[in-house]
């Protein structure tokens, strides 16, 4: 180990994808994720991969669909408005049981929104990445290093489940410059290509038909949807990731992911200096959501949950509320539209709540 580099978040995840064995990228320019396609446009050819600048996000996700069907580790990235356009293809990936990784470096919304960072795509990512009632695992890193680590392992989940994996970041994390320790290059050979893939490289002697389709009979489709439901449940027991911070004695628990969790940590440290018992639960997987840790808090001790997000209104609120079950108030603090959370703003908002709370809730 020890391949340390000082990198922009977007470039770091692009390099992590290459090292994870990604050999195909298609995407369309949109701020604030442009460094990902720019980096991969020269980097993928260096390792024998292919880069295509698609004519649209719609085309790009369908290019990924084609490459993924060949068993190639494929990636696309975009931001809010572009992810909406990719919704069709993400749904088809899930329908045809194809693994691929989709990155959203999110920005202010709705509509064209703003090009400044925001966490406004939580509901889209966790509830409906497309039509038809499917889910993808959603990872939400809060640093360039964690983004590298999650992207590096993303295809392992995608191929295990034969389902797309979604990485939800925001413009802050995409553009932050941080030291990252890059993992080694995964050397994937033709023998590593999954057996269902439409390539014949992994078994040149094979003489039977290979096919992949999102079209099924009604009974088959019902059966596959039921199986997908079982898979989502298994994620809740097997794959939930979260971080606890100063939680043991906390009377107020902040729930925040991604960039909001970093700003919240600073505020919590400052509040702790003043004797306020504040802690943090940071979901790393947004889907599956870390339900149990929130459900199992000691509500005889916890006086309030504070949902901090860089979006208005807070989008994680309902997922939290389903675990809190009215055992304590849930407060919200956020900024939106591309206005950033900052240390002072979060500190003052949390202070107002933990010092009385009468102005909130």
């Amino acid at each position: 180990m020890g391949d340390k580099k000082f990198m922009k978040g977007n470039n770091a995840i692009a390099e992590a994808a290459v090292r994870a064995g990604c050999r195909f990228f298609a995407g369309y320019p949109i701020t604030p994720q442009n460094e990902i396609p720019e980096y991969l446009s020269w980097r993928l050819p260096e390792v024998g991969g292919a880069f295509v600048q698609g004519e649209s996000e719609v085309a790009s996700i369908n290019m990924v669909y084609g490459a993924a069907a060949m068993g190639t580790r494929a990636l696309t990235s975009s931001s809010g408005p572009g992810i909406s356009l990719k919704a069709e293809g993400i749904s088809y990936l899930a329908a045809a049981a194809l693994p691929a990784v989709i990155v959203n470096i999110s920005r202010g919304g709705p509509g064209l929104g703003s090009i400044q960072p925001a966490q406004s795509d939580y509901l889209q990512a966790t509830k409906a990445l497309g039509h038809g009632g499917f889910h993808a695992m959603v990872f939400a890193p809060n640093s360039a290093q964690e983004a590298v680590d999650l992207v590096y392992n993303a295809w392992d989940y995608a191929e295990r489940d034969r389902n797309p994996v979604f990485i939800l970041m925001d413009g802050c994390l995409g553009n932050i410059m941080e030291e990252v320790d890059l993992p080694p290059m995964k050397e994937l050979n033709d023998e590593d290509i999954p057996g269902w893939a439409l390539t014949r490289r992994n078994d040149p002697e094979r003489d039977w038909q290979l096919s992949l389709t999102p079209i099924y009979t009604e009974e088959m489709l019902e059966g596959l949807n039921a199986m997908a439901g079982e898979m989502y449940k298994s994620w809740e027991t097997e794959d939930v990731k979260y971080e606890e911070f100063m939680l043991d004695d906390a009377e107020y628990v902040v729930v925040a992911y991604g960039i909001a969790s970093r700003v919240s940590k600073e505020a919590i440290l400052k509040l702790r200096e003043q004797g306020y018992k504040v802690g943090l639960i940071r979901p790393i997987t947004l889907f599956p959501f870390p339900k149990k840790v929130i459900h199992d808090l000691d509500y005889s001790k916890v006086k309030g949950i504070i949902d901090v997000e860089m979006t208005l209104p807070a989008q994680m609120h309902d997922d939290i509320a389903l675990q809190v079950l009215e055992r304590c108030p849930i407060y919200e603090y956020g900024r939106s539209g591309g206005c950033l959370l900052d240390d002072d703003g979060v500190y003052e908002a949390l202070l107002d709540i933990v010092s009385g709370g009468e102005n909130n809730g």
Partner: protein, 248 residues
């Protein structure tokens, strides 16, 4: 004497195409050519949406079924990571010339090294006969009940003419499947397109004028006559681009 036998890539399943529909002839031609070229095993059919999607039942070779209009995008992803496979998409006119117009023009313009077979029957067959971008002026459909009116719906799109304005495509041709002569020319054109792909020459496009007895409300035989009097005069068959001829 020619040997008559089942094409290796046509699965043994009852046909769901309407009686007299030329889709079945078109897929038969493609399969025959792939057999002839020894590419049956190596071929990959990118099956689109519409009546062409029925091929998921009848196509016995490898295939990937994709979203409406996106076959050229999916084929791009396929071919870029597996250039050794012979890749073709089979698309209808609603699929290719309306919802998939960006994908077909962009793939053609990039010179992607695969083949698109375009079945043009001037209607959306699967959904019940609505107006397609290729529907002829005055043609009655379920969304143009008084006939297609160019003042509000524009004119039928000529895809071969459009694509042949691009520099990258290697081969662009249109054939009509309503006569033995046209069928033989189409077979030769499909073969040429596949051969050029195998030589890495780039994007190849074969438009096949087909019919829709059900939604044209004509008997199969009458559709063939209709094509002679209506379709062919507007969609002129011919070879619009051939990199081998153009290079001379």
């Amino acid at each position: 004497m020619a040997e008559y036998k089942r094409s290796s890539l046509i699965a043994s399943a009852p046909s769901g195409y309407c009686p007299g529909c030329l889709h079945s002839l078109a897929t038969r031609l493609i399969s025959d050519v792939l057999d002839e070229l020894g590419q049956a095993q190596n071929s990959l059919n990118v099956i689109s949406v519409g009546c062409s999607a029925l091929n998921i039942k009848y196509w016995g070779g490898d295939f990937l079924s994709v979203a409406h209009g996106r076959a050229p995008a999916a084929a791009t992803g396929i071919k870029r990571v597996n250039p050794e496979r012979l890749v073709f998409a089979y698309q209808g006119d609603g699929d290719l010339a309306a919802i998939g117009l960006a994908e077909i023009m962009s793939a053609a313009n990039r010179g992607e090294n695969f083949t698109v077979i375009f079945a043009n029957n001037q209607t959306y067959g699967m959904t019940g006969g609505q107006m397609a971008p290729t529907t002829l002026e005055g043609q009655v459909t379920t969304t143009t009940v008084n006939g297609r009116d160019p003042s509000t719906t524009g004119y039928p799109l000529k895809m071969c003419e459009l694509i042949s304005t691009l520099k990258a495509p290697a081969y662009v041709a249109r054939f009509a499947l309503n006569s033995p002569k046209g069928i033989n020319q189409a077979r030769a054109g499909i073969k040429k397109a596949f051969q050029l792909q195998m030589q890495g020459k780039g994007f190849t496009f074969v438009e096949l004028l087909t019919n829709c007895p059900t939604n044209w409300h004509l008997s199969p035989l009458k559709t063939l006559e209709y094509m002679d009097t209506n379709t062919i005069p507007y969609f002129t068959p011919g070879i619009y681009k051939d990199c081998e001829v153009d290079a001379e």
